[in-house]
Structures are given as structure tokens and as C-alpha cells.
């Protein structure tokens, strides 16, 4: 039998009162892709942090190549041959690409030989199939490019175990394919890849074995051939889940509410034309970089359009500030919870009331704290935000619950048009099904909904119609009956046979 490259034996870890890991064991073999799945809060993050030396386990043993090791720091983990790349890449925006790659490479000595560094960085980057100038500063790189930098960094350290934590959460389909290719190449070189993802289809494409964890405990480890998607989901949530990514019947929708004609933002996107009806869910699909978010930002007045018309409920409007958009009943639930969506250090209630404080005003401009608390409590119950009360800091919630808080904030503004940008990015299957349920429910109440999603199964499960964008242009609109994964991808990637004039 092959010597496992990494063994975790009986790890336990507690933070204050919560036990994050209980008697967790895991064996990773060289040259395998080992997937780890589990709902948010199952203990995956803690497990990763222990493997990368950020946290130390309370009890238990870690062995690398059969030798017991203590990983006191990320540096120690890297020295032992364990590195990780994260959902939100960790790059230094002010340093150039090459230096980002070799930043923690102590084998390179104390003197920076820049020409050598550039050459080696180039040699690491080019086999990854990405064109990247290693001398440019890392600021302004796309997420996929930043990830490439991180992978190159791990490769430069000659890793034995590479942990990929939700690496595809914000990548487009062809970027995902490239990442999976890289993972396969690493595997062929004998590197063990620990692959953590909420996207089960990817796990079936790439993994050799899959481990399910739940509530900080090891549930099962099986060869991929022996598991089914339903079985995995059942193991993850501990119960069967009916509504997971199942297409619900399209809502019969009503009158045109929002009509967009030839919307253009010079140099960003052009000639976007669509009607959005009451009770309709229109999904914007496309590759990352197709400028879908920019369309949403211009509808919300953050980056106003330079040309074209927007008609809301029969009246032509010009939207140049978010305040105007909100007054018109347009809400935008951002994809970037951290930067644009939530005030992380504030409590749940303060986040929920943030966009509708005007309603809560008492004389002298004071805020009616009781009404504010009641408002927050209503949403906590209605959206099933998992938290004992609404006083907890939003930053301490899981991704799914943060998403619900953000949604609550916008629902309170009673929007007529609700724009969701990547509503389920980085949240677990259970929460995802709930968010889908909420979106459907809102549509059936007559809200017009625009969803931007890079997750194709999600698009097909949610949408009544799908608008596909490519490089700032509208590639076509498909009614849900005609929309299949293949057709959407064909339009998004611009394959000639699927080319259609803008609808």
C-alpha cells in the first residue's frame, strides 16, 4: 500500500464554547484528488486552517509522509509541503506578479535577483495556460488570474499537498475547466490535491475519493465511483433534500415593469435590450468578464449608462445615483458581501435597517430602536437566519446567513425590481435551496427579478428567461424551454453556430 502523504488522526478543536472539530481523521494519498464536502459550518474551514498551520488542534496527531509533525505556523506548513489557495485569493496588489509568486520562498536566498525571479516566474506561469506579464503589479488582476498566481506560488514551494478551498466559486465555465486541468496535471506529478467545493458536478469531474464531513465529524470517505450526487447531499445535510436544484415550473408573469433599450456604457457594455415583467425571473448568464455586473451597476445608478433608455412602469427614467434607483424601487444585492454588501462589524439588525432608516425616524431624527429590532426580528424568522438574536455581528455569520441578512436589508425597501448578483456564491447546498426558494417566492408575489449567476445549473433552475452576454454585448435571450447548458455556453463563449442577433 502506498504511504499516505498526509494523515490526520483524531483531531479535535474548540473555539470557546463551540466544538468545531470532533475526533476528525483523514488520510490523503499522493497523486490523488481528494474532495471534501460539507455544509458551511461543518468544520471545513477549521480543518483547512489546521492543515495550513493557522490553527493548532487541541488533540490529535498530524503525520506527513508517516512522520508526526507540529504545524505551528503557515511557514511551518509550507516547509512540510502543505499549501493552500483560497476562494478569495491572497495576493499583494502593490507587488508585481513574480514577487507575489516567490514572496514566501525562503529557498531563494536573501538577495533579490530580479531577472532570475522574472524568468522563473514566467516558467511557472506559462504551463498554467494563462497569459500574464510577470512584471506587472498584481492590482487589477481578475480573480482567475490571481488564483493562477497563487497556484504558481504553491508550485514554487514544491508542495506535496495542495489545498484548494472553493477555488471555482467565482470563475467562469472555461476558467473552471482550466483549473481542473491544472489539478489533474498536479495529480499526475504526484501532488495530492485536497479539493473543497460546493459544486458537486466539479467533484464528480475531478475527484478520486470524496470525504463528507458534518458537524465537525467525519461521516464517510468513499471512492468517487461508489457515490451518487443524492447520496452525497444526504450525507452532507443528514437528511434528504427535495428542492435541490430542481426546476420549478415557470411563473406565469404579468405586465412589463422594466424596459431597457440599447443600454450602453461606453467602453464597458453596449446595446443591452430586454423587458423584465412583474413576477419574472430573468437570469443574466455569461462568462466572467462578460460585463453582467456592470449592467446591474448601471441599472442601480452606481456606474450610470452613457446611452440608451430605461423605462420603469411606462415612464422613462434616468438613474445616476443609487438613491434614485432605490426611490424608484430598484434594489441591488451585491455579489461582494464583504466590500459592497454588508457592514461586517455591525450587528444583524443594524445591517437590515441600513437602507430603510428613514422609515424608523422619530422626531428630532432619532431612530426608533424598538421598531428597528422588531423589523430585524421579522426577517430573522421569515428568512430563517440562523442566529439566536439579531445583535450578533454580521461578520461572524456563515456565508449563507450573511446572504440572507443582505437580502433582508433590500426586501425592507419594498423593491419592485430586485437585482441579485451571484446570490449563492460560496454558500452551502442547504442555504442555496433556501435562497432559491425565497427568490421564487418573491417572484410569485409580483417582484420583477434579475439574477446574475455564473452557476449554470442555478440559472436553469431559477430562470424564466436567460439573457446571455459575451464581452459586453448581448449574445441572445433564450426562453427557459429552449435553454440548455450547451446552448447557453455556446452563446456565452461565442461559438459561431449558436450566434444570434441581439434580441
Amino acid at each position: 500500500m502506498t504511504q499516505p502523504v498526509l494523515e490526520l488522526i483524531g483531531l479535535s478543536k474548540s473555539f470557546a464554547a463551540t466544538q468545531a472539530l470532533k475526533d476528525m481523521s483523514l488520510t490523503v494519498l499522493p497523486g490523488e484528488v481528494h474532495a471534501i464536502v460539507g455544509e458551511n459550518g461543518a468544520g471545513k474551514s477549521t480543518l483547512i486552517k489546521i492543515m495550513t498551520g493557522v490553527h493548532q488542534p487541541d488533540t490529535g496527531t498530524i503525520r506527513v509522509d508517516g512522520q508526526p509533525v507540529t504545524l505551528r505556523s503557515t511557514q511551518a506548513a509550507q516547509d512540510a509541503g502543505i499549501a493552500a489557495i483560497y476562494q478569495e485569493p491572497m495576493v499583494f496588489p502593490d507587488l508585481n506578479v513574480a514577487e507575489n509568486i516567490f514572496i514566501s520562498n525562503r529557498a531563494k536566498g536573501r538577495i533579490m535577483r530580479w531577472s532570475e525571479i522574472y524568468a522563473e516566474a514566467d516558467a511557472l506561469i506559462s504551463p498554467l495556460g494563462v497569459k500574464l506579464d510577470v512584471r506587472r503589479a498584481a492590482s487589477g488582476l481578475t480573480l482567475a488570474e490571481q488564483q493562477t498566481v497563487e497556484i504558481a506560488r504553491a508550485l514554487s514551494l514544491k508542495v506535496k499537498v495542495l489545498i484548494m478551498d472553493e477555488p471555482t466559486a467565482s470563475l467562469s465555465a472555461h476558467e473552471v475547466a482550466r483549473l481542473l486541468d491544472i489539478a489533474r496535471a498536479l495529480k499526475a506529478q504526484g501532488v495530492a490535491v485536497i479539493y473543497i467545493s460546493h459544486r458537486l458536478d466539479e467533484i464528480f469531474r475531478i475527484a478520486d475519493r470524496v470525504t463528507v464531513i458534518r458537524d465537525g465529524q467525519h461521516i464517510s470517505t468513499k471512492p468517487i465511483a461508489e457515490v451518487t450526487e443524492d447520496g452525497l447531499v444526504k450525507d452532507m445535510v443528514g437528511r434528504a433534500l427535495e428542492s435541490f436544484a430542481v426546476k420549478t415550473a415557470a411563473n406565469p408573469y404579468g405586465d412589463t415593469l422594466l424596459s431597457v433599450k440599447n443600454l450602453t456604457c461606453a467602453g464597458v457594455f453596449e446595446n443591452i435590450t430586454f423587458d423584465l415583467h412583474k413576477g419574472e425571473v430573468l437570469c443574466l448568464a455569461g462568462l466572467v468578464g462578460a460585463r453582467r455586473t456592470d449592467v446591474a451597476l448601471s441599472l442601480f445608478g452606481i456606474a450610470p449608462a452613457t446611452d440608451g433608455t430605461i423605462t420603469l412602469a411606462g415612464k422613462e427614467v434616468r438613474i445616476t445615483t443609487p438613491q434614485q434607483a432605490m426611490d424608484l424601487g430598484i434594489a441591488y444585492v451585491s455579489e461582494d458581501r464583504r466590500k459592497l454588501g454588508l457592514a461586517m462589524p455591525l450587528s444583524i439588525f443594524a445591517n437590515i435597517s441600513l437602507a430603510s432608516l428613514k422609515k424608523l425616524l422619530k422626531p428630532f431624527g432619532l431612530i426608533d430602536a424598538r421598531a428597528e429590532a422588531a423589523m430585524a426580528e421579522t426577517y430573522r424568522k421569515r428568512l430563517a437566519i440562523r442566529s439566536p438574536d439579531t445583535l450578533i455581528e454580521v461578520g461572524k455569520l456563515s456565508g449563507g446567513n450573511q446572504q440572507k441578512v443582505m437580502l433582508a436589508k433590500w426586501l425592507e425597501t419594498k423593491p419592485r425590481v430586485l437585482i441579485f448578483d451571484e446570490p449563492t456564491r460560496g454558500i452551502d447546498v442547504g442555504a442555496k435551496a433556501e435562497v432559491h426558494g425565497i427568490i421564487r417566492q418573491l417572484a410569485s408575489e409580483g417582484v420583477a427579478i434579475l439574477v446574475i449567476s455564473s452557476d449554470l445549473p442555478e440559472v436553469l433552475a431559477l430562470a424564466d428567461r436567460v439573457l446571455v452576454m459575451r464581452e459586453g454585448r448581448q449574445a441572445g435571450i433564450l426562453p427557459i424551454e429552449d435553454a440548455t447548458q450547451e446552448r447557453v455556453i455556446a452563446l456565452a463563449a461565442g461559438q459561431a453556430t449558436a450566434e444570434r442577433p441581439a434580441a
Partner: protein, 334 residues
């Protein structure tokens, strides 16, 4: 346009600074009689020499997303105590005297650094505290006595007028050379010495630094120790230049240093900046400062206001220009 889009923002910034410096000199040359003289060159270069080391230290601290407001007080304490030491031991070797100054400064800087890195207190709070604390200590320690030139050893009194060499009629003083050496050594280290690159890394993205196995606390501590040591070197040059040291020695020098650093293009948000920029920033600030004193049109009271205006203008122009540049490039590549 091709130059604008091809050259790095840093290069453009230096170019702009150079032009501003040139414009300033030309402007004052038309206003002040005998401005373009070796005398004026000496006046500006020796005055900038005192500010340069403290600005170098400040730049390192600012690169790590921190600030050192206590540097001026450190300068004062070091200048005074070094004066005392040299009065008592006139035979102390000059090199040992310089080392004493830097070590004393480093010690005070370490106090800042420990409180900031391990005490988790924001640097602006800690150094605002030690700014007052070090100064009060000096007042207490000095017992309101003044160090006078008469009590200092002769070599130190002669040092400010000592010439290293002359270029085309312009004298390069030893003190200027010392300050330039501090800039050069630091500049080389920041470019080629791997551990020094951590200052940029920590300031650029502290979370990523942690994940990359960089000890951010030690890096910040080192930055403050260096800032203290360089403030100490400035303290030595201050002592040499002025000879008479009272308890207000170096008052406001931290602001002058921050001005030089910011005008020199070191981002106040951390992560970027160069020593050439700091050098040019210090030269520009000191040129303006020294020229204004000789320019009859502007009263003494307006000098500070003009300096303040310069800092704001530099940062505003920088922000606007880099935004414009980003837009230009986006347009160019897509």
C-alpha cells in the same frame, strides 16, 4: 500619450516630482537675488540632510500602513542626550557617537513597535502618546538646561562645515553625504534585500502576508525600530548643525518628514513607495521652506500654510492623475 501609458506610475510620479522641483527652483531664481548660488545650495542641502534620515524611517513605517508621529520627539531626546554624552566625554569616537544616537533612537522606536505590534494599539494612537511622552521625558531629564556649542567637542562643531568633495563649485558636506548614504543603503535594501520586501508585503495586504507565512508583527516592530534609529541619526545631524539644543529640539520634524514622504509618492495606504521619491520629496519640501524664508513677499506665518497646501496638492494631484491614468490604460488595452 505613449509615454503616459507605457511608463510605470512610479516613474511618472518621479518625473512629475523632478519637474516640480525644477519649476520651484526656477521660480525662486527669478524672485530672489543671488538665488542660484553655492551658498543657497549649501543652505538647502544641509537643511535637507537633517530631515532625510527621519523621512527615510518614516517612509518605511508608512509602507507598512502605520505612522510614526513620535519621530520628532525621538530626534529631540537623542540630540539632547548625545549632546550631554559628548560634553561629558569629548574623546568619544565620532563613529561611536553616531552609533549611540541610532541605538538610543532604535530603543525608543522599539517601545513604539512593541506596543503597536503586540499590544494591538493603532500606531497613530501609540505614537501620538509617545510624541508627548518622549518630549515630557526630555523636559524632565534636561531640567530646562540647554546644551551649548561651547560644551561640544571641536570635531562636532566643525562637522557641518566639513567638506566631503566639491562638484563644479558646489560643496557636498559630510553631513549631506551621511544622509545620502542612509537613503542609498535603505533604497538598495528595499529593492534587493528579501527580508526588507516584507515592509511592502505587510502594507499591501496584511491578511495575505499572514497566509504567506510572513511574521507581520516582527515586520512592523522592525519598521518602528528603524524609524527610531533613523530619527536618532537625524538627531545627531541636528546636534551637529545647530549645536545649541533646548527641549524643543526637533519639534514638528515628524510632520516635515511625513510631508517629504507623502510628497515623495509613498502611499499613505501602505505597500508602495521608493527612496528616490522620498529624497526628491525632502528636497522639494526643504527647497520651498528655505526659499520662502528669503522671499520677502511671503511673511513667516504663511510658510507653514504654503507647506500644508503643497502636501494636499501633491496628494490630490497624485490621486487624480493615477485615476486618469488607469482610465487611459483601460481604454488603451481593450
Amino acid at each position: 500619450m505613449t509615454l503616459l501609458t507605457r511608463a510605470s506610475p512610479q516613474t511618472l510620479r518621479l518625473l512629475a516630482l523632478g519637474l516640480a522641483l525644477l519649476a520651484t527652483i526656477l521660480f525662486f531664481a527669478t524672485q530672489i537675488e543671488g538665488y542660484l548660488s553655492p551658498r543657497m545650495f549649501n543652505r538647502i542641502s544641509t537643511s535637507a540632510a537633517v530631515v532625510l534620515p527621519i523621512a527615510v524611517g518614516q517612509a518605511i513605517v508608512i509602507m507598512t500602513r502605520n505612522i510614526d508621529l513620535s519621530a520628532g520627539s525621538v530626534l529631540g531626546v537623542v540630540a539632547y542626550m548625545a549632546g550631554q554624552l559628548l560634553s561629558a566625554n569629548p574623546d568619544l569616537h565620532p563613529i561611536l557617537a553616531v552609533l549611540f544616537c541610532m541605538a538610543l533612537g532604535a530603543g525608543l522606536g522599539a517601545l513604539n513597535g512593541l506596543l503597536i505590534a503586540w499590544g494591538r494599539v493603532p500606531s497613530i494612537i501609540v505614537t501620538l502618546g509617545t510624541l508627548a511622552l518622549f518630549r515630557s521625558f526630555l523636559v524632565e531629564w534636561s531640567d530646562a538646561k540647554t546644551i551649548t556649542t561651547a560644551s561640544l567637542p571641536q570635531w562636532l562643531v566643525d562637522l557641518p562645515s566639513a567638506n566631503a568633495f566639491s562638484v563644479g563649485g558646489l560643496d557636498i558636506r559630510v553631513t549631506v553625504l551621511l544622509a545620502l548614504a542612509a537613503v542609498l543603503v535603505t533604497g538598495l535594501a528595499l529593492t534587493f534585500y528579501r527580508p526588507a520586501r516584507r515592509f511592502y508585503a505587510v502594507g499591501s495586504n496584511p491578511d495575505a502576508a499572514l497566509m504567506a507565512g510572513i511574521n507581520a508583527r516582527r515586520t512592523v516592530l522592525t519598521a518602528f525600530i528603524l524609524s527610531g534609529a533613523f530619527a536618532g541619526l537625524s538627531g545627531f545631524l541636528f546636534l551637529a548643525k545647530f549645536g545649541n539644543i533646548t527641549v524643543v529640539a526637533g519639534l514638528g520634524y515628524e510632520l516635515k518628514a511625513i510631508a517629504a514622504v507623502v510628497v515623495g509618492g509613498v502611499s499613505i495606504m501602505g505597500g508602495s513607495g521608493s527612496m528616490i521619491g522620498v529624497l526628491m520629496g525632502a528636497l522639494l519640501v526643504d527647497t520651498i521652506d528655505n526659499s520662502l524664508t528669503r522671499w520677502a513677499v511671503v511673511s513667516e506665518f504663511w510658510r507653514d500654510a504654503l507647506l500644508g497646501g503643497l502636501i494636499m496638492a501633491a496628494v490630490t494631484v497624485d490621486t487624480l492623475a493615477s485615476r486618469q491614468l488607469t482610465r487611459l490604460r483601460k481604454g488603451g488595452t481593450q
